[in-house]
Symmetry: C2
Subunit: 180 residues, 2 copies
DNA sequence: CTTCGATGTATCGAGCCGATATACTCGGTC
DNA sequence: GACCGAGTATATCGGCTCGATACATCGAAG
């Protein structure tokens, strides 16, 4: 997840970890936030894997022990990002994963976009059915608060399914447009 | 989170880890699920802390190395649960935490309920404003898909704020009813 | 009589978080 | 010219959680 996001953002330009985190926050902040406690370890993992390199490390001035590093995408990194873009696995169907992947949707191949949207729809439909079942099953027994929350969740699921249907229809129309 | 949920469920009856996980899933499944990979380590932590005890460990039959354990709440465990119930910190405002806490709302003191609902409202309002700002800021620049998702999220936030307002009003009415 | 699904306990590696520590730089202010 | 707060920047630590995996029993269906 974080690896995918880092690789995606670094396509813009090489940057400091700090700036990267800010861009991450600006771009994905509404779906997901990442802390430094995961960012820096992940950057080192990507370095080891050769997906990014350190460029223009500022010399250590005085007795400052921490050099300022600029991270830059490598060819392997771009390749890896393309692979991740083409992946429509289950991690792209949950709330956060879907949000993050959707952020890079304009760079995602049309067929993968479709598989992600359909996977997400299946996921949300399952949740919707689960909530319907829970509401039908209980009626009397369960807590008033829980029932209210289930009701709210059910409406949200129904709306999202409608939203997804529209998006999917739109994608299909676009596909047909290109074919002719 | 898991500690809170375990303690809450174990109020029903002592049970096996396996059964506990099932009850957890039935009760909270719509907001949050927990894997065995977190359940068993957490149970051992609670054992060490004296919040639960092993009761009626089935004898190891044959060359079965794994005994069946029944976990039971202790007085300290009940106390701890009461403490957690009375906590209205930020972890009760996010999606999952709110869902879990709401599950035990009928056992939560009225003033704590109110603080949780208000905290949650503040949280959702912040998200709503963030989404509004994002939609206003961009309009042209940002990705079509992101904009659509922001729009969906904005509507969901608005609905949830309304939902919370109704719940809060209801709680207040109930309070006034009891006072007189 | 075997296989399959449910019951049941458990570990491992890895990702991620929140809190915390450490420094430098630049603008303003007293 | 000393001081301070906010922003820039890197980094670690302990702890929680997940998904995958492994092991083992038991009843029922075939």
């Amino acid at each position: 997840m974080l690896e995918f996001a880092i690789l995606g953002i670094l396509h813009e330009a090489p940057m400091h970890g700090y700036v990267l985190r800010k861009r991450l926050h600006e771009t994905l902040g509404m779906f997901r936030t990442f802390s430094y406690g995961s960012l820096y370890p992940t950057l080192r993992r990507l370095l080891r894997a050769g997906l990014i390199v350190e460029e223009a490390v500022d010399p250590v001035t005085g007795w400052n022990r921490r050099a300022k590093r600029v991270y830059k995408l490598t060819a392997e990194g771009k390749e890896r990002f393309a692979e991740l873009l083409a992946d429509a696995g289950p991690q792209t169907w949950d709330d956060e994963g879907f949000g993050v992947h959707l952020t890079f949707f304009s760079r995602t191949p049309a067929d993968v976009r479709m598989r992600i949207l359909e996977g997400r729809r299946r996921r949300v439909e399952e949740r919707r059915e689960g909530l319907r079942a829970a509401l039908a099953r209980a009626e009397e027994k369960i807590d008033r608060y829980t029932r209210e929350l289930h009701q709210l969740g059910l409406e949200a699921s129904e709306r999202e399914v409608r939203w997804l249907n529209e998006l999917i229809a739109h994608e299909q129309a676009e596909q047909r447009g290109k074919e002719t």
